[in-house]
Symmetry: C2
Subunit: 351 residues, 2 copies
């Protein structure tokens, strides 16, 4: 017998590359091209380091309070974690304890099946239709829970809130997680449904629309009872997940609503302009409510364009998977960065 026999073997999630080369136009992990709100820099530059010798507030009250105010809920309805991945992982562990399979789309955030495998949660993927839309009837059968990214990744497509509501309403005996990592780029949040459904958990992140991927802040909003269970699991895992700098930086970000509106608006404007320019180069892209486009060329293969872009220091994301192998997921950078992408593609496709 070896100690290795008792090891939990898993196949980990593979995140997009974080190249150290600063020459790269990095459009592969859906980061925001603009810096965080100016107040974030201020609180770090004025940070009283003596605070660090003490444990941070385990309740993260300051951050939960500003989020509660921003989303018109009570602080007791807000849960925060080390990025929305931490929040989602905790939610899977807490709420998906049935022998019945949890349900999610076949093409979606590829961490869902990894968490299910990690925690030995049975799951059944539900195929999106030919145009990559959710088939709501697939979620009207018996299950152990549901998780839907809306807008979806890597497609960028948003399901209408009415469809999300139908799915939540039809599944009140399980928890339905709506993962809204990209909602701030033109999507409609399910937070408005919280008063009607106590089985709903909405998850969002500071990584995209708040330009704070590097600070690791995610949050969930739900009814108090549900958030209470999530907290119990969290406090059985790690009393202090949010460090002192992330708490003050998170608060500073939420307090600057104008800046948030400004940068998300800029990303949406750049996306729409970039989409048209891609179309002029014979790309088809799916209708996106996110900070990325999922696009394929009418004749050139996805792999080929991916390789060509990469060889020219333009990093996008590509999956060698059924149904989406011809597509590239291109994060929306600055206008200048997207101009460079278009200029390169124009030259490359004309060859």
């Amino acid at each position: 017998m070896s100690w290795e026999n008792n090891v939990r073997r898993v196949v980990p999630y593979v995140a997009g590359e974080q190249p150290k080369n600063s020459q790269v136009i990095k459009l592969n992990t859906n980061e925001c091209p603009y810096p965080p709100a100016p107040g974030v820099a201020d609180v770090l530059h004025q940070f009283n380091e003596d605070v660090l010798r003490k444990y941070p507030d385990p309740d993260v009250a300051a951050l939960r309070e500003v989020l509660a105010k921003r989303y018109h809920v009570k602080p007791e309805q807000v849960f925060v974690g080390v990025g929305s991945d931490d929040v989602l992982a905790m939610a899977f562990l807490t709420f998906f304890n049935s022998d019945k399979p949890i349900l999610f789309p076949d093409i979606t955030y590829s961490f869902y099946d990894v968490w299910a495998d990690l925690y030995r949660i049975p799951y059944e993927m539900q195929p999106l239709d030919e145009s990559f839309h959710i088939v709501k009837e697939d979620y009207f059968k018996e299950n152990g829970g549901i998780v839907i990214a809306n807008p979806n990744a890597p497609t960028g497509i948003e399901a209408p809130l009415s469809m999300i509501e139908e799915i939540i309403a039809a599944n009140q005996d399980v928890v339905v997680i709506v993962d809204e990592a990209y909602v701030d780029f033109g999507g409609t949040s399910a937070v408005s449904l919280l008063d009607k459904y106590e089985n709903l958990l909405v998850v969002q992140t500071f990584s995209k629309s708040r330009s704070m991927a590097g600070m690791r802040i995610g949050f969930a909003i739900g009814n108090e009872k549900l958030i209470g269970y999530l907290n119990d699991a969290k406090f059985s895992f790690n009393s202090y997940t949010m460090n002192a700098t992330s708490i003050v930086a998170g608060v500073a970000s939420v307090e600057d609503e104008a800046y948030f509106q400004e940068i998300t608006g800029k990303v949406v404007a750049t996306r729409e302009r970039f989409r048209k320019e891609l179309e002029a180069l014979d790309f088809e892209s799916l209708d996106s409510k996110t900070n990325f486009l999922f696009a394929k060329h009418k004749s050139k293969s996805g792999q080929e364009i991916f390789d060509a872009l990469r060889a020219n220091n333009i990093y996008v994301r590509h999956w060698n998977k059924p149904r989406i192998g011809e597509y590239l997921r291109i994060s929306i950078g600055t206008d200048e960065e997207m101009d460079k992408v278009i200029a390169f593609l124009k030259e490359y496709l004309e060859k």
Copy 2:
């Protein structure tokens, strides 16, 4: 059927209080009374906030490299997490997957049984002897893994490295975790045993000896294969746990070895002085290799003294549990803080 039927119900760990009142002499969570190394403040005050829009390095290479150098191991032997609680929680999930019970002392860090409950890991507590020492023979039976805090908390007692080695050697078919949260205050690390035993995982933290509880940094050192499995589980949970500020702050701390030696030395000196002063007031304290003392008074009850201290804004830790109900765990603060504690106790006990 309600969604609540599928909820993982747990009884969370209760951490020591984090009072908002700054008048409190806070000796209840074993924090260090001195600020972090000066370089930590520098990197925060000069932090380039634009970095935050990108995800941090998922491999946390910079921090793992300085730790590897400091502990004379390879970077591939180092795992980092959001405090040692995060590291320990991941290690429990990864390595304790047997039907046989894991073993740990009855009086020890009270998070061990919480993690076991969270992950449905069977466990059997092994009673410490009358003088709160480990009985090594208790760990020579079949088990699913072992976790030992050394020095132990809340007793402060260190088991000799030879005993730790005997336990590791007798259990090479399971993983033995040695939790060395307090080792830097005069203890002897098991890191030196890593070349001999591939079933050993040593866990340490920046929260005590590096004055960085607020930054949430912990780490584990083990052989490459074992750390590889731990990484697989971690990357199945959250690709980016360490935020950008904690990485640079962690590096700055490790790079200042002189400061580290200075403040841990000061804490040890204060502890020994405080111990003698407590003894003069009719307290008995256990031999501590940590930044706290576990002490009881010869006549006054633990609860009574705890309440009196608290009423006077001196926070220490007390557990209403069998065997240790008469003891107080008193973290070592500055000389000035400990003088105030002694002055209060002198007056209080003379009444």
